[in-house]
């Protein structure tokens, strides 16, 4: 993995968030005019329970360097248990990704409530810093671009 020119490297990060807590929390960050890094693009889901693990992989395949997954704190889920289901899914998913050698440090899980505008800003900044440190996820991008590069001249 190349860590060269990290100063010029702007991580591309996709945030998968639930509508009721984290999306609203990020709204509050805005309303509070708390500034944070521009690297994150937010995708709104009704609930963390809705977030398919394949969408996370799709983000990496499409060139994301990092991912944020965030929803309601335990017991605060708008749908009572979507976040609990999601939490289990992520536990299992993380363990599988780790077995495969996929860099689980690049997926940041968090609970951010609708009241935690500042936490959202911190989460984004912290994740951007982590990913900047790790560098672009070239390993994965290279594999994603296999047909374009590697196999073309076979």
């Amino acid at each position: 993995m190349s860590n060269d020119n990290n100063s010029a490297f702007e991580p591309r990060i996709i945030a998968f968030v639930c509508n009721w807590c984290t999306y609203a929390g990020a709204d509050l960050t805005g309303t509070s005019r708390i500034k944070y890094a521009t690297n994150v693009r937010i995708v709104r889901f009704p609930c963390t329970g809705r977030i398919d693990f394949l969408l996370l992989l799709k983000a990496f395949a499409s060139g994301a360097d990092g991912i944020i997954v965030s929803g309601c704190h335990p017991n605060d889920c708008h749908y009572t248990s979507g976040n609990f289901h999601a939490r289990r899914r992520w536990m299992v998913f993380r363990s599988l990704l780790d077995t495969l050698g996929i860099d689980t440090r690049r997926i940041r899980y968090s609970w951010v409530s609708a009241a935690e505008g500042a936490k959202w800003a911190d989460l984004v900044n912290d994740t951007v810093a982590t990913i900047r440190e790790l560098g672009p996820y070239n390993e994965y991008k290279k594999v994603a671009d296999y047909l374009g590069k590697e196999a073309g001249d076979e």
Partner: protein, 266 residues
Amino acid sequence: MNNLTELANKLLGDGTATKVIGYEEAHGKTRPCFCTEAADTGRLVLDERCTNNIAVYLTKPEIVGGHKVAVTATLPVLRTMVQLAMENQLPDGTTAIVSTESGEGLAVLPTVGDMERVVAGTPLDISGKERELRERLKAMSREERWQFWLGEMSRCIKCYACRAACPLCYCTRCIVDNNCPQWIQPWASPLASMEWQISRVMHMAGRCVACGACKQACPMGIPIHLLTLSLAEDIQNEFGVAPGSVMDHGNVLSTFKPGDKEDFIR
């Protein structure tokens, strides 16, 4: 006439079954076979050479449609049948024929409850060889694991023998055949193969009975069963659900406990 043939004939004779799914000997190995009448049953064998998971046929309408089925079940097959029953996939009235513990005699298990009892009494034992492979994988650094799997996935030809051989991959339409959206690229490439395996293994979470059919089927010899085994081990550690054990309600991923671990969520 051996005992198995006799028993199969009895079940076919008394109407307990109209088709016996079993194993026959061929080319120095065994393979699945199907018997619908007494004249067929002479070829049935049931011993340690029977490694195909023939429960795979229980979800094929072409095979079981219109039949009452008896399966000569090895332990992995029996574990699969119990799991299929949990998932509403075991055809009504399916009977299992198993070797008794001593290995000498045969027993008929007419109900899922009977099958569950045998399965519950025989916890899964993962062989030393698999354990060793997993340990070796665990001892690698993340980068080494990535390179290892990338190399393996590059050899995948996307024939989906792993899917076809797995008795718990019974979806009418597999996710890889869904092109709205195209979840997984349909052509062979390391990424598509990896995404497919991730999907497959996630879909097996808490369901896999660790029979090894996927690995056995792979014409390229890719050790994909290590993925399901590793996940099964993690699930056992995390949720106390052993592979092939009977959950009374739902699935590992369709249920939760409020106290599930969340130290990775910050």
